[in-house]
Symmetry: C2
Subunit: 223 residues, 2 copies
Amino acid sequence: MLVAMTTSISVPSLRRLPLYLRLLETWRAEGRTQVSCTHLADDLGFDSTQVRKDLAAAGATGRPKIGYDLQELRDVLRRFLGWDNPGEAFLVGAGPLGQALVAYEGFAARGLAIVAVFDPAPAPGAMVGGKPVLPLTKLKDLAGRMHVRLGILAVPADQALATGQLMAGAGLQGIWNFAPLRLDLGAQVVVEQVDLAQSLAVLSHRLASLSNPSDPPKSPEPP
Amino acid sequence: MLVAMTTSISVPSLRRLPLYLRLLETWRAEGRTQVSCTHLADDLGFDSTQVRKDLAAAGATGRPKIGYDLQELRDVLRRFLGWDNPGEAFLVGAGPLGQALVAYEGFAARGLAIVAVFDPAPAPGAMVGGKPVLPLTKLKDLAGRMHVRLGILAVPADQALATGQLMAGAGLQGIWNFAPLRLDLGAQVVVEQVDLAQSLAVLSHRLASLSNPSDPPKSPEPP
DNA sequence: GCCGTTTCGATATTCTTTTATCGGTATAAA
DNA sequence: TTTATACCGATAAAAGAATATCGAAACGGC
Ligand SMILES: NC(=O)c1ccc[n+]([C@@H]2O[C@H](COP(=O)([O-])OP(=O)(O)OC[C@H]3O[C@@H](n4cnc5c(N)ncnc54)[C@H](O)[C@@H]3O)[C@@H](O)[C@H]2O)c1
Ligand SMILES: NC(=O)c1ccc[n+]([C@@H]2O[C@H](COP(=O)([O-])OP(=O)(O)OC[C@H]3O[C@@H](n4cnc5c(N)ncnc54)[C@H](O)[C@@H]3O)[C@@H](O)[C@H]2O)c1
């Protein structure tokens, strides 16, 4: 067992870990066995010290001159994120977004397996991504029997709160919420919000200030 | 014309603006005409000072005791983000995710209109979300004639760089990239990354440290 | 075996972001 | 009018994160 961490990792650091992991997978496929913070930082445009801090926060340890063992670093990061063993998840909401999520094969590498799809009143025999669509009424029973902890919420915004409460009541401990709505389900349930509007806001504003350069976001003009 | 800002808004602030805007739209539908930072902060779990700063950075101005005029605040925020007039965008990649994005009606309220869909070799007459799917070869010509500035990139990761370069070459100034890959298209093109893995990492780690509480993320125990 | 180079790990500094505090203003009730 | 209250705006302090600096360790070449 690993020694307990004294300090918690910051959210910005946490969000960078998948970027490192992705690069590691690429390099592993190319046959490399060693990596250094410098390489990771160069490739991602970060500072090498920052990368080293992030990796250290995740529990990775390297050796001077050598760097990190690629395989070991990958395993440490995956274990730290809980991506080493497949976590089973329920998808609630079989709309276009839900269908895209079920079809996405990238989740497998992130320790996520969608094991059931729910919708309020599915047509009998309805399938999404090769999986049958089950009525919401079966959610609680199945969650209990399958010991599923994670739910993906992809229902219309006006249904999201009620559906989220239903999922929490069914015993799901984490909810990945794609509805554009802040969910408060109490301290027992971990809610992570996916908000495209936030990302779009950054892009829109940069684009707007590009054509209307009253507010230069970053002017790299050497003096 | 507004007076030029001396200081740029921070990305965290920028990302919070859509949350305010969403709440404002809700309250506007309920008939409210005035809002205060306190209300916004309470509803979102933020600090009221932080909200006030964000709104000020966006150019909004309120009045003591009164708060902000809801309609005016909404307009200021939308104008600041460039969401007041519909920006036209091309969608490249008509896979499941692309189809979900085309079908999404929430973009209209964020000043985004997908006006054309592209794929490498669409079947003749192929339609997605009521729009014809055009071959990639037509992208450059159409982008020039329609003066489209924004592209949404939803192609497989191994195609993303080449496709992104194609889009940049066609004159698109902003690219909203959904492929799990860091795109570097030079300083001319604004690239905003949508990375579900980053969001999932936060959720996974919180969920993992929930069942293995060696690293309590936040322990709100009053002394 | 010695030396230069590379890279980790730790510490320190700077920058950014968040939170707290205070003063002033407008409204409504007394 | 006076007074209480709610709120904005500005300034200051604190916390947090990014960047810079330094020492130590290990490998390869001489
Ligand atoms: N489609 C996108 O690209 C996109 C982008 C960003 C955010 N979102 C958000 O994701 C959510 C889903 O998007 P969508 O386009 O698939 O929406 P949608 O409205 O087209 O489909 C929602 C699905 O949920 C089902 N549903 C309705 N009520 C339900 C309930 N109470 N419990 C379970 N299922 C229920 C519906 O039957 C439907 O199949 C929405 O909140 C949307 O705002 C979507
Ligand atoms: N589906 C999801 O839920 C999801 C989630 C996160 C990220 N993503 C990412 O979004 C992207 C698209 O996802 P998807 O599930 O729709 O992928 P997909 O592979 O199923 O579909 C991609 C589409 O792009 C088209 N395409 C292929 N090469 C192209 C090219 N050179 N130019 C233009 N179009 C091309 C294909 O014909 C196909 O229609 C992928 O990079 C994926 O990793 C998807």
